[in-house]
Symmetry: C2
Subunit: 208 residues, 2 copies
DNA sequence: TCCTTCACAGACCGACGGTCGGTCACCGAC
DNA sequence: GTCGGTGACCGACCGTCGGTCTGTGAAGGA
């Protein structure tokens, strides 16, 4: 199956070319301000080619979105799964996420535009993204064990994701992203340690 | 000044009419799917009238956004300011916010569409919304006092706002909004009590 | 070699956001 | 009152953009 026919390879190449150009434009100008004609022209193709590979503008965005998301999701999951302790895993994933927030592509595609563009498709229907399952994986040990009693996994994942997005926006707005990242780190750490200390039995919480 | 000329009253009336119709359409179909022609036709006016009052589609949305936001922001602030204790104020405002999340207008306009539509205008420039100052007001006592040491007010407000948005999205997606609201309430309460207990000196945190 | 398949071309369409010259009712000045 | 100015509103028009449709030429199995 690694041996592909010439036609398939060419088609895949143009598809990736289109996704690449689209990604560049979406990140730079945003979804609404990017014209399909512009993408097509920069790729040296005609509109027919684009619509042969993607059913519409939103589908093209979705393809870009998937690539960008997978790039960071992989790093975050890897960081989290490398830890044994559930709390440490959360902490590590959180740090990896904040690193991702320093990348313009992640901010523009995943944080800003995805909400509106994919609203009708991914949320109203049963489809789900990658972030929530990811968060669920990381948070499950906390809910399953005796800590955090009576807390729904889904709600917790949503609230956590929201908090992460909030910090992402703060970093996105800041003049100095690096410094903002450090600030966000402090806040998230305080919240994390707070929840941990208050809901852990038999653990003398370190106060300073 | 309550005595207004006929022309002014008429103009204001049409302006409010347009905002009302626009709000209805934006909430029902979302920003992108709503056509200016449709709004104009439903209002029984011509396009010229609309563009006489609003510089563009985004300006019209901003007007709707301001109205919707002010409606809920007033309720949230009132609930928060009615409390003496800072933590109780946060708790009360939080509850009022979750109530607001049950309203479709707030979800669609403020949570979903505002992020993208007002992105270029409100974020890149120095302009700020109403939510963040509001949150800052509520959170200032916590940061100023000895609790939550070393935490930046702005970051905390952003993360808190994000968490609230996350819960809002969870409620928006849920089949049973009322039940979802209750779930979100539990999660936010756990986080709140956690942070409070872990960072309050001389307060024996109630564990159950 | 033929002929099916398919990636790709590019002219075309309808819809939508936005513009602009024109019209007419209102309002202050004399 | 009437007269000139103002401004709310009209609606035809334009440019752009997402999306469609028919065509075409090369790839590849028979």
């Amino acid at each position: 199956m690694t041996v592909k026919k010439l036609r398939e390879r060419q088609a895949e190449a143009t598809r990736e070319l289109l996704v690449g150009i689209a990604r560049e434009r979406f990140v730079e100008q945003g979804y609404a301000a990017t014209a399909m004609d512009d993408i097509v022209q920069r790729a040296g193709l005609a509109k027919g080619a684009l619509y042969h590979h993607f059913s519409g503008k939103d589908a093209l965005f979705k393809a870009v979105y998937d690539v960008v998301l997978e790039e960071t999701a992989g790093a975050v999951m890897a960081a989290a799964l490398a830890e044994e302790d559930p709390w440490a895993a959360v902490r590590a994933g959180l740090s990896a996420f904040l690193d991702a927030c320093l990348l313009p592509a992640f901010r523009r595609i995943v944080i800003i535009d995805s909400v509106t563009v994919l609203a009708a498709r991914a949320w109203d229907s049963g489809t789900e993204g990658v972030e929530l399952p990811m968060l669920r994986t990381v948070l499950t040990p906390l809910v399953d064990s005796d800590v955090l009693p009576g807390v729904g996994l889904d709600v917790l994942a949503h609230v956590a994701l929201g908090g992460l997005y909030g910090s992402a926006l703060y970093i996105a707005r800041a003049a100095d992203p690096e410094a903002a990242r450090a600030e966000a780190d402090v806040v998230l750490d305080v919240i994390l340690r707070g929840v941990r200390a208050a809901n852990t039995t038999g653990d003398p919480h370190p106060n300073s």
